[in-house]
């Protein structure tokens, strides 16, 4: 159980690799944001397994370049597995059509399931890579620079903080619950209702307190996040290479 808690706590510390010194970490946040969006659009819009495998290779390559352990990436990327397994199984069971796939006839359901699985994994991994290599504050600064309305940015900033707060609060509460009921392995179903209820109310109250603290120290989206960085020629160059690679993948796979 302790292991689970520790890993939950670690999950909330995505910035542990944020201070590494690789060229990807130093890339302009806007470039990283745009590249991530482009790869996401490309991979969501494709139906080819081969293309997805190429993206998978690309993601692993980027991970290596960022010096992030592949194991960490897998941990985060596979978070969505339970959800996409449920959906994928329904494909497998319901779709019995056969299709031709590189010399074999196989069930269409299998392909769809695989596609879904790969896409989910890749999306989560990309989001993880973006967040680990770019501090959230840098991203926010760029959003403000792009003139995204303050109210949306504020939502994003507070949601980001809230998720971690919720994780932390849940871990602490579960720990103290289990300490007081040494015979249980997990939280009992009968206590689940009040546990979750208390967790939500408590964490909401806490996030409200945090927001007040921020306000007391003069927090204002447009002032706090005004440090837009200048894009230099290296960033543009790398971005062009990135776009080139994506176009090549598209051309090869069509």
């Amino acid at each position: 159980m302790n292991k689970l808690f520790t890993s939950l706590m670690n999950m909330s510390q995505v910035d542990e690799y944020g201070h590494l010194d690789t060229f990807i970490h130093h890339l302009h946040p806007l470039v990283k944001m745009m590249m991530t969006t482009m790869i996401l659009v490309c991979l969501i819009s494709t139906k080819s397994i081969i293309e997805l495998l190429i993206y998978l290779f690309l993601v692993l390559f980027i991970t290596k370049c960022c010096q992030i352990p592949i194991k960490q990436l897998l941990k985060r990327g596979l978070l969505g597995l339970p959800l996409c397994l449920c959906l994928g199984l329904s494909y497998l069971l319901l779709n019995q059509n056969k299709m031709y796939f590189y010399g074999f006839y196989i069930n269409e359901g299998i392909i769809l399931c695989l596609l879904l699985f790969l896409k989910t994994f890749l999306c989560l991994s990309l989001a993880y890579l973006l967040i680990t290599t770019t501090s959230f504050d840098e991203l926010t600064c760029e959003l403000v620079f792009l003139k995204v309305p303050a109210i949306f940015v504020l939502q994003l900033v507070m949601t980001y903080r809230y998720i971690y707060l919720l994780l932390e609060e849940a871990t602490l509460m579960a720990r103290s619950y289990l300490l007081r009921s040494p015979n249980d392995q997990a939280i009992q179903m009968k206590d689940m209702g009040s546990f979750v209820g208390h967790l939500l109310v408590g964490s909401m109250k806490q996030s409200q307190d945090i927001y007040h603290c921020m306000k007391c120290r003069g927090f204002d989206i447009e002032i706090t996040y005004q440090h837009h960085q200048k894009i230099n020629s290296e960033d543009v160059f790398i971005m062009m290479i990135g776009v080139g690679i994506l176009m090549m993948i598209k051309v090869v796979c069509i």
Binding site: Q13, S135, D209, C213, K215, R217
Partner: protein, 238 residues
Amino acid sequence: MIEMKDVNVIYDNDIIALNHINLQLDNGCYVIIGQNGSGKSTLLKTLVSIVDFSGEIRIDGVLLDQQHLKQIRQKVGMIFQNPDHQLFMSRIYDDIAFGLINQKKSQKEIELKIDQIVKQLQIKDLLNRSSHQLSGGQKRMAAIASVLVMEPDILLMDEPTSFLDSKGRRRMIEFIQSCQKTMLIVSHDLDMALEVADQIILLDQGEIIMQDETEKILKDKDLLEQHGLELPFCFQRG
């Protein structure tokens, strides 16, 4: 200068947290004492308008309302009872810089000020750590630094010595004594109050029972016991 005229705070329509508070505080250090739930934290929170109140509050003559809120919050620094609420960035350094960035200070100035404050509070080794990894006392120190660095004219502190060890507490007391600002401190640490306060404000059930010279209140055993408090340690012995 802080003025409160007939201030009331009611939570959830039935919990009266502050009841007809009238206060006038000039320059100096004031310590609010009172038993748990007597409304001390609420009183501080009303001064930065975090809780809804009725009545009139003026800070340095400026009326506390929606229009002047920003101006007042720039003047008033508040250290909250729970340091966890105050630390929300990924590194302590960013937390301390947060207020300065909002004040639109230049990068150079920010670095200089942070350097000064961490030297003063002796927390240089915490700068690059995340708040999740700190002990209670270390968090408290970091939270204090994050407010002090903004150099507010008026300081509100909610139990600044809680979580601190005796050395940290001593550092805090020395800081308060050396500080020439208007300070309003909530504390259960009556021995500290004795050392730092110019005046004591005794609060019970949301009402101000007494506001007077420090020794006069802190030596009055009957008064303190009547309101759920005890004499400070140093008077208990002697």
